[in-house]
Subunit: 552 residues, 2 copies
């Protein structure tokens, strides 16, 4: 990162904008409000960033999360309480799934807080929102002191960048134009690994891997967050070791890579990957979060005594731990050890069919939907999978490129995919989002198609319309799992832009997808009617395991 | 409240449902999720309550708030984190505006928490959500101990009822069916005022009022919350003292009552009411919150030395305070003192016009919209006014009946009115909601028209379509204040039910309202096109005052 040229020319707000820009931020998502209006105007006038208005703050929070996952930092900017507290959930998701989102909230001016009056939007005390976000972020600050404001901005942004988790910056509206400390010197705080510990850890890992009969690499979400996909690929190609992904780590490596053995998710993922991973005598877990969904609701059989497990939080080899060894240094280091290249003998895996022949008037099924979509995939698409069969069916699709499968597969908040598509396409303009979303999730945040229309984005939105929360029906069913059927294909008429398709049969689906491909100027919405009881095999396995806990 | 008949027959969950029912709750709003699914099923099977599914948890939170305002207690029931954290904002609104909302959140079972695993929906620790809600409620509990669970339920519900503020109950999913303490005896905890202090306070108040040249009563939100509208009316009719309302207290008394002098809001409300209140030598403030919006952004001139101010939190007479005097006891007590009845000489106030003659093809204006709606009002309508001109224009409408004007006029969160209509009509089935909502607010929560359709409700939804956040334009304008124009009148086509109207002119409005009146079987949506710069005089005054603070 460059250093600030002439610190004395910056105000607190202009310094903040400049720093965000230096972290690669070009878009800031949010909804205005009187306590943040002055800052909104500064954003609008800044050549460094563009402010993207969403319909509701929740949409902005999810968009910023998707942007952060693809860009390395995302920003959501809202007003006090009525804006900020609406994104408690999206910030929690960013925390749980390690997405570096910066929450910027306007707030009453310091001068307005004297004598603690009842100013609109105040909850209990002026610091109520700050206290809430302390629970949901790794660093937080109220910029209430010009002498320390620049340093606080740097401290908090550095924490987001280092820990890949959300942070909170509160901006009282009367400090925007104040100068900071003109003597302030931004200091880089390199956080290197301890060299001797790193060397010892690498030696031990090398010895173990070389001695192993069947080592295997398992990669997860942190490889995305720390931008280590290319390094992992080099490690695979240097050593010729087989590699599997978790569901949250999907798309770390091209699924066409010859060393890729499939999705590992205990009893719920690929059978072959499961056998290979669980019979391995040296499992190299890189950036893996041991969540219940990654572990197939604890059906995974992973013996720590046979593991090398490196995350941003710690490095464990067998049953002991190394401190001060960073994930990126460890993986980089593996490239330079004398791990021997080995022969890889894995059987050819099942390839996706190379054609989809629709049966005319045959009602759509979940299985056939994903077969057809799998063939539709191309390297210019980014998949955003909402929770439910959008994710579990989607997880079986074969992704062509790295980092282009986004889903909150651990925190599992419904409604991420539509607003997430906004963030994804702003982050990587040359891709087109393919949104997979259930009808229940669509009804939560689907009005953000308005934001999609406003900014001329062109996602293809596939709604799995099965009349309710299909994930829950196999666990425990009732009227509470129903949602009202909307005529989703009419939404373009509401917006005045886009194409809508109503799909009951296989031939309708194939025709619609062909139209979508040629219609790239605006959004497309596919209302895919499915039987309420038709769920993917993966979801069936998952809901059986989860259902046992519902009424225990 | 009745006591529980045979405590040993209740489980923790059935006791909770029974107690809620005894507080008058018949509807519970929410969205299911696996951690709350077992409880959802119990609600569905219970004859005492009905579970109302909304599209998003935010809608459930606002619906429960409206229900609480009209029924005395409202309940929102959600799943862990991905549900609960979505209603941080609606709970904050209930806190700020004293609305007794019970938040019930499902949660991981106690047995699942051992060894602190990464279970889906977990944020930082298992108590993250609990800590967040401690900031937003007056009482909170995790029902993790069967021995104390019944007592905890009673303690927390009593706090909501007493303080008229939200509370939080977390229900680990493995405790639902556990029995509580079979020896538990619910104890009523009467919270009477101290009799001698009450007597002294009433005597002093009586002396001051009798000695006053021009006493006046000002009523606010707590009169609604404590159900004291009838008592206030008796006090007015006994003493013949004039009465004004704040904007948050609107509809405490019929605005046709001869003693009613108007809306008091500093420089922003009625001129006559302002002069009368500010020149009074004895201002009797009953349940008044001194918020910035109630005080017309501090343009109000209220001298505490001339005030009797009773709230649920304290009683002040001139510059001294009485403790342990409850609001309801004080107002009840005033009925039985020898306050003299006096002659009231106030000039006749401006009455609403008794006809609206539309000028054909004349474009709609905000002023004419409210003139027309004012005549449309009838006693079977409840007004739900969202923030912006929906509220400030709406505040000038003449309400016929008590308690039938709902708006978050202090916390001022956009998006309350549409989901609020669901709660209002469930709470008082014989009324029909008249929803006044700006286009910006509608785009936040408007998809809850789906819930309206699902439960066969029939609100009339008037969308003030002026292309953006009209409240903010006069403060500071930019692209960030724009919203995408939707064709709102097409929404009934999306839902398959309801009537939509597109309104540009006065004659179109009058015709549409006539159609709405005769079409009572489902919802009606009026898309009223307004000039983006056309705002009500009240809003103009408000935004001038607020605008000065934006870029201070």
């Amino acid at each position: 990162m460059k250093t600030i040229d002439s610190i004395a020319t910056y105000s607190i707000a202009t310094y903040l904008i400049r720093r965000l820009s230096e972290y690669g931020v070009e878009h800031i998502f949010g909804v205005p409000g009187d306590f943040v209006l002055g800052f909104n105007q500064m954003l609008e006038e800044s050549p460094l960033v563009e402010f993207i208005n969403t319909c509701d703050e929740q949409g902005a929070g999810f968009a910023a999360d998707a942007y952060a996952r693809l860009r390395g930092l995302g920003v959501v900017c809202v007003t006090y309480s009525v804006g900020g507290l609406k994104i408690a959930n999206t910030t929690a998701q960013a925390f749980a799934e390690k997405s570096p989102v910066v929450v910027i909230s306007g707030a009453p001016g310091l001068h307005e807080r004297i004598k603690n009056p009842l100013i609109h939007h105040k909850v209990r005390n002026f610091d109520t929102q700050y206290k809430v976000f302390q629970e949901l972020t790794v660093a937080s600050t109220i910029l209430d002191n010009p002498d320390t404001a620049f340093a606080e901005i740097d401290r908090v942004l550095a924490a987001a960048y280092r820990y890949k988790r959300p942070v909170y910056i509160e901006l009282p509206r009367d400090v925007l134009h104040l100068p900071g400390n003109p003597q302030y010197q931004p200091t880089a705080t390199p956080q290197d690994s301890d060299p001797e510990t790193l060397t010892e850890a690498l030696q031990e890992a090398t010895t173990l891997i070389n001695a192993a009969r069947q080592p295997v690499i398992l990669v997860d979400v942190e490889i995305h967050r720390f931008g280590l996909e290319e390094t992992v690929l080099q490690f695979v190609e240097k050593t010729n070791i087989a590699i599997a992904e978790t569901i949250l780590g999907k798309s770390v490596i091209s699924e066409f890579h010859p060393n890729y053995i499939g999705l590992y998710e205990g009893a719920m993922g690929s059978e072959f990957a499961r056998d290979y991973v669980e019979s391995s005598d040296c499992l190299i877990m890189l950036g893996v979060m041991l969540t219940d969904l990654n572990l197939g609701v604890y059906t995974a059989q992973i013996d720590p005594k046979r593991c090398i497990a490196a995350t941003s939080e710690k490095l464990s080899i067998r049953l002991h731990h190394y401190e001060e060894v960073h994930l990126q240094d460890f993986i980089q280091g593996l490239l330079h050890t004398d791990i021997q290249r080995r022969e890889l003998t894995i059987p050819p895996r099942i390839q996706p069919p190379n054609s989809f022949t629709p049966i005319p008037q045959k009602p759509m099924t979940v299985a056939r939907l994903f077969e057809c979509l799998n063939l539709f995939l191309s390297s210019d698409l980014v998949i955003l999978a909402d929770i439910g069969d959008a994710l579990f069916g989607g997880a079986e699709m074969v992704v062509h490129q790295k980092a282009l499968f986004l889903s909150p597969a651990y925190y599992a908040s419904l409604g991420f995919a539509v607003p997430g598509a906004i963030g994804a396409q702003m982050a990587v303009p040359h891709v087109r989002p393919l949104v997979l979303v259930g009808d229940g999730a669509f009804q939560m945040t689907g009005m953000e198609v308005s934001t999609i229309a406003r900014y001329n984005l062109n996602p293809i939105i596939v709604i799995l319309n099965n009349g309710g929360y299909a994930t829950e029906r196999p666990m425990l069913d009732g009227k509470f799992n129903d949602v009202l059927p909307w005529r989703y294909s009419r939404i373009p008429e509401l917006l005045g832009v886009g194409l809508g398709f109503e799909i009951y049969t296989e031939d309708q689906l194939e025709a619609a997808l062909a139209d979508c491909r040629s219609h790239s100027e605006s959004l497309c919405i596919l209302d895919v009617h499915l039987d309420p009881k038709d769920i993917s095999p993966a979801l069936k396995r998952l809901t059986q395991a989860l259902g046992e806990k519902v009424s225990s």
